[in-house]
Symmetry: C2
Subunit: 250 residues, 2 copies
Amino acid sequence: MLPERFSAKNFDVAHIRSSCATCSLRELCLPVGLNEEEVETLGEVIVNKKKIQRGGYLHRTGTKFQALYAVKSGFLKTCVLEEDGRQQVTGFHMAGELLGLDAISTDMHTCDAVALEDSEVCEIPFSKLEDISRTIPSLMHHFHKIMSREIVRDHGLMLLLGSMKAEERLASFLLNMSRRFAIRGYSETDFNLRMTREEIGSYLGLKLETVSRAFSKLQEDAIIAVNNKHVKILNLERLKLKMGNSSCAT
Amino acid sequence: MLPERFSAKNFDVAHIRSSCATCSLRELCLPVGLNEEEVETLGEVIVNKKKIQRGGYLHRTGTKFQALYAVKSGFLKTCVLEEDGRQQVTGFHMAGELLGLDAISTDMHTCDAVALEDSEVCEIPFSKLEDISRTIPSLMHHFHKIMSREIVRDHGLMLLLGSMKAEERLASFLLNMSRRFAIRGYSETDFNLRMTREEIGSYLGLKLETVSRAFSKLQEDAIIAVNNKHVKILNLERLKLKMGNSSCAT
DNA sequence: CCTTAATATTGATTTTAATCAAAACCGGAT
DNA sequence: ATCCGGTTTTGATTAAAATCAATATTAAGG
């Protein structure tokens, strides 16, 4: 039987192409064997606070892996630059989420991380991680394991994305955003997106006009209410159905 | 600047959705610190030989990770079953390549491995891997690292695939097959594919008719000569151009 | 060898999304 | 408030691939 991991219902499109977008520092460290106290230490003592202005870079592709980052406030995107200069968005990252694990296997960042609005992050320097590794030898190993798991998950998801239509992709995206806002304590059905239609399109493999049309279509069907960047989900169930349909069709 | 890893020229589409398809046992073990002799030991002594008939399963989704497999002869595909029962091909695996690393992060196989023709594999039981891990503690860690690297690579590739047209996808696929045949000592320009058009389509995110048409088109353009499963590449350079065009277009 | 089922090709049509183009809208700066 | 650049929406057209359908080819088994 199909394992849970590969059921479309259990996937969020936003995981696609993102690296550990939804993995909090706590989620990351507790399974390693760090206790609450140690996680606190990581979060409160070791960490350097950093501010990044809208449009500023947290890290650049190809630069050395020097730290993990926990987003404290704001909103960031990760993206890769293709050879022709176009950029492809690989993920969105909101407060409470972790960034930087993309570099864990190569020691080099594989994407740019750009602030979509003024943001604050906590930097956990690699040197500190190494210190912890000495006390908790399995830490880096565990990071690799987490990374593989996350990325295998993404991988499976992209398979599904491949067979989805524009509207279904957008539905998946919105549901993922919804879930992540909910986790962070915001409304599940009423939120502001910080990225442009173009960025959503890049992320989902669609053109901005197609994204816009998909928004309009979902609004027409009274599943959501859109006003520019503000989205209100009117019918969560039907939105989930939208997403599920694709892999059942054909 | 764009790192090598994200340049389309350095990618093979066949890496997409596959797990360590092109990573040989030797390639895998040498960087861990295993010397030639130890690799031989792995390959020659520890290993159980196994035969799988055409259509037979090497491993099933959701089953426990018990061994790595090195393909000795034959041809296999890996695939996941979607909830509606359709299967999605995630990779092809030829003699000399390694299988089973998909399970490394979860201890469960995340896909089925099916023989496309009668095949022989060498099984490296997990228990033996653990034995080696005791002598070489970094082994499993290293496997994780390899796995992350491979899969991050795939990940980047799928980004590219997303913006490719049918013909370009097929070109990438053929080039990858070509390269892998070459590595294993077969002709780079003249080979038999073992999979059906439908399987290629599933792998590339296209319908079988579209794959067939793309084959015909490449033949029309005198870039390849196709006869059913047999492919002869007439103009490698132009085939490479076909592939490169996509990410430069727009 | 012939039969049959699976596979592959090709054509016609429809669906989907990209592209081109114009207008409407919004947010920040003055 | 007004202007302006960037963003969003919507429409018309084109291009690509899916779908439907028919035929041709191949491989496997009797």
